[in-house]
């Protein structure tokens, strides 16, 4: 017979005002198995917990019911208290008589009656509770970073500095991401490459960091501490170990028809190429779509000129399977396609460019060597018009409903960069609102207006007409109500940012969720901003939402520290309330394996002796480390062989019976 102790909490007057706690304790004492029933003002206080601990020892209680606030509040507290007194923590049940009773009911009689019923249910359940011991799982001391932009680089460096091995997967041939394309960074106007390239080199030289460029995640399985990731290393056709990075192959390659992705299509690149001169690793890639050798079989010049014999046309995609303890996702963002914005003539006139193309034009390492030239005729423009919010804060199907966050600042930066180099160029900025929260951000934007004489116009541009070699920009100044017409030479569109096209697919591989805009969702918007709902997977940078560089770096370090916290543990303790298969009943239909969202149930063959014969039988087996305890399988199981520890069929039925008493 169980020896159950019932402790009824007053919670000051929170419970005691609407529930007759004395009556509850009196009734509880009559319930089967209850040997002690008492009440106290504040069970969660030090004294209350001592009362519980002493009672367990003195009365030799083997089960405890605390009738108090919601288990979401203090279940952990009371379980710890019980554990200190030598009782298995899972032999404690909470009857929620505050949130579910005293706070929602006014009539004292009714509330007392309900409280007694709730205590009865808890007593009925706890009678059937069993000691549960949480399992332990080991942790693979290695982290994976998906995406090698500034977020990925920072995360990798931080984790590596803590002494753990890190692998970085980057889809393109070089790490660096969007930041490598940018010219200057706001609000200090220091050169992006000058601060990024040393970090890229650090990442490649770090003994704990392993770069997988030109690679993608193919499959992810496993669970926190023990992810197993299949990485597809695309065939580079150049042997990384042999290549000296001399660049002769690139120079001699005759194929020059492909638009350079890194230069935002402003110039062409060769079929064998490195995205940019400071690429890490500085090893070229053959674009097999463009390569004449791969298309026609004739050419192979690169192979002939390569003295290091690094070119390998036969190279194939290779798969790497590696175990990781933690995963950080930092896949970044893209700009939206402006094809739907016909009124701005993007794609129709070469002098209408996106802000990222402008970054390349103004970049000293870019196609114009930093000279501001119109793409159409390579002449210096006289009037430049910037249009903000192209596709941002847009409720139609053409754009995105959110604010892209970075455009106000980079547009001010662009305007300032022009004015600094060419004070004679007229610069107009059309905006809806200027949003510059951030350290030294508003001062920066105001400097563009006040010191550099950039003309900010509140209002949107209605249409950009290509007119001869000019662009006629029609707008309105919303404040004065004046209609405005500008004969511009260059129009720069601040296109909205968006999540990567393949974010949803990657999310599915990792079983992490994406929001309506395909950005990855954090576990809690305020308190858990870098964690995902899947334990052991963290987010860094613009893949979670639009972000500027300082925020990205901050989040990257936060994600790194979360990963380090995980990796530094010697083992993880898992939830003991997991499913359990009764092998003698299991019929081996494996229906449960289909519904398990964690792939925690697998099949196994057991052998047992029946009437002197050895019989082999196919049964399900639950991996307790993977099982999260949802209990879906218990209902699916046809013979009823699966039960959930802590919420067993018997326990729930006992509760139902007690409540209907």
């Amino acid at each position: 017979m169980a020896r159950i102790g019932v402790f009824v909490c007053w919670c000051g007057s929170n419970i005691a005002a609407t529930v007759d706690v004395k009556e509850v304790a009196k009734e509880a004492a009559k319930m089967s198995g209850v040997v002690l029933s008492t009440d106290y003002q504040y069970m969660c206080s030090e004294i209350g917990q001592n009362l519980l601990r002493n009672a367990i020892k003195k009365e030799k209680l083997d089960r405890v019911v605390v009738a108090a606030c919601s288990p979401r509040m203090h279940e952990v507290t009371f379980r710890k208290a019980a554990e200190l007194a030598g009782l298995n923590p899972y032999l404690v049940e909470i009857a929620n008589i505050r949130e579910h009773c005293s706070w929602v009911h006014k009539n004292k009689d009714e509330a007392t009656e309900k409280a007694i019923a709730l205590v009865r249910a808890a007593v009925a359940k706890v009678t059937l509770n069993q000691e549960l011991i949480p399992g332990e799982i080991g942790i693979e001391k290695r982290a994976l970073v998906i995406g090698g932009g500034i977020a990925g680089i920072q995360t990798a460096l931080d984790i590596a500095d803590a002494g753990y091995m890190v692998d970085v997967i980057e889809k393109t041939p070089s790490i660096g991401g969007k930041m490598a394309q940018i010219d200057k960074t706001f609000p200090t106007l220091d050169c992006s490459a000058c601060i990024l390239t040393p970090k890229m080199v650090d990442a490649s030289m770090h003994p704990n960091i392993n770069l997988h460029t030109y690679s993608e995640v193919e499959k992810v399985s496993g669970y926190v501490g023990n992810f197993e990731v299949t990485i597809n290393k695309k065939a580079r056709s150049v042997i990384i170990e042999k290549c000296s990075g001399c660049g002769v192959c690139i120079e001699k390659c005759p194929s020059r028809k492909t638009k350079s992705e890194f230069e935002e299509g402003l110039v062409n690149r060769k079929a064998i190429y490195t995205p940019f001169p400071q690429a890490v690793p500085n090893v070229p890639v053959i674009d097999r779509e463009a390569c004449i050798k791969f298309k026609t079989g004739k050419c192979g010049i690169c192979k002939k000129v390569c003295t290091a014999e690094a070119i390998d046309f036969e190279q194939e995609d290779t798969k790497i399977i590696q175990k990781y303890g933690a995963i950080v996702v930092s896949t970044g963002y893209d700009l939206i396609d402006l094809a739907k914005f016909g009124e701005y003539a993007y794609g129709e006139d070469p002098d209408v460019i996106t802000s990222l193309e402008f970054e390349r034009i103004t970049n000293a390492a870019g196609p114009t060597a930093g000279k501001l030239l119109r793409p159409s005729n390579n002449e210096k423009p006289e009037k430049v018009v910037f249009i903000q919010c192209v596709g941002s804060r847009d409720k139609t199907c053409r754009g995105k409903t959110y604010c892209s966050k970075i455009c106000c600042m980079y547009t001010a930066k662009h305007a300032m960069l022009i004015k600094e180099k060419y004070p004679d160029i007229e610069v107009h900025v059309f905006y809806i609102d200027v949003r510059t929260p951030g350290k030294n951000f508003d001062e920066f934007q105001r400097r563009a207006v006040e010191e550099y004489g950039v003309n900010y116009i509140k209002g949107m541009v209605g249409k950009v007409f290509p007119d001869g070699d000019k662009l006629r920009v029609y707008g309105v100044d919303a404040l004065s109500g004046d209609t405005i017409e500008i004969d511009a030479d260059l129009v720069v569109l601040a296109a909205a940012t968006k999540a990567k096209e393949d974010a949803e697919e990657l999310g599915r591989k990792l079983s992490i969720s994406t929001d309506t805009n395909n950005f990855f969702t954090e576990a809690h918007p305020k308190l858990r901003p870098v964690e995902t709902h899947s334990a052991g997977i963290y987010l860094a940078g613009a893949c979670q939402g639009p972000k500027d560089i300082p925020e990205t770096v901050a989040q990257a370090s936060a994600a790194a520290s979360k990963a380090i916290i995980l990796l530094s543990k010697s083992k993880l303790i898992n939830n003991p309330c997991v499913a359990k298969v009764d092998e003698t009943i299991c019929c081996g239909c494996l229906e449960c394996t289909n519904i398990c969202p964690y792939e925690a149930i697998a099949s196994t063959i057991i052998e047992y002796r029946d009437h002197g014969k050895m019989i082999k039988k196919l049964v399900s087996e639950v991996n307790e480390a993977l099982c999260q305890g949802c209990g879906g399988c218990t209902v699916t199981c046809r013979p009823g062989a699966i039960d959930l520890k802590g919420f067993s069929n018997k326990q729930i039925l006992a509760e139902v019976d007690a409540l209907c008493f």
Binding site: K395, T396, K458, G459, V461, G462
Partner: protein, 136 residues
Amino acid sequence: MTRVKVNPSNRDKEISRIIEISGENIYSCMQCSKCSASCPANSEMDILPHQVVRILQLGNYERIVNSQTIWNCASCFTCGARCPRDIDITKIMEAIRLTVIRNKGESRIDVDELPEKIDDKMPHQAIVSVFRKYRK
């Protein structure tokens, strides 16, 4: 300048009617003025389209109906096509015009007189809209 009483929460009857007839959410507007910038008739307007929406938000019906803008609107739909907030300003303009017409007081069409006025080439739609606009 006259001081206007602003009380957007206590919506004017006429403003509610404009919202109802047009079916557009005027509170979605964030005053980017793209409609005004796109409008081919904006040079003739005393109040620009984005200002019309703002004045509606503020609830100043009188100022809208006394402006030339609503009659200068050519209903070309450019504003609505380019609006980033998915507001069809043309529908709002039409709704304002309808409230003016409906408020005119007299009923200009009588069912009994209709048969003799009908012309074979007249589209049916026109007959329906005549009732919508001119019959009280």
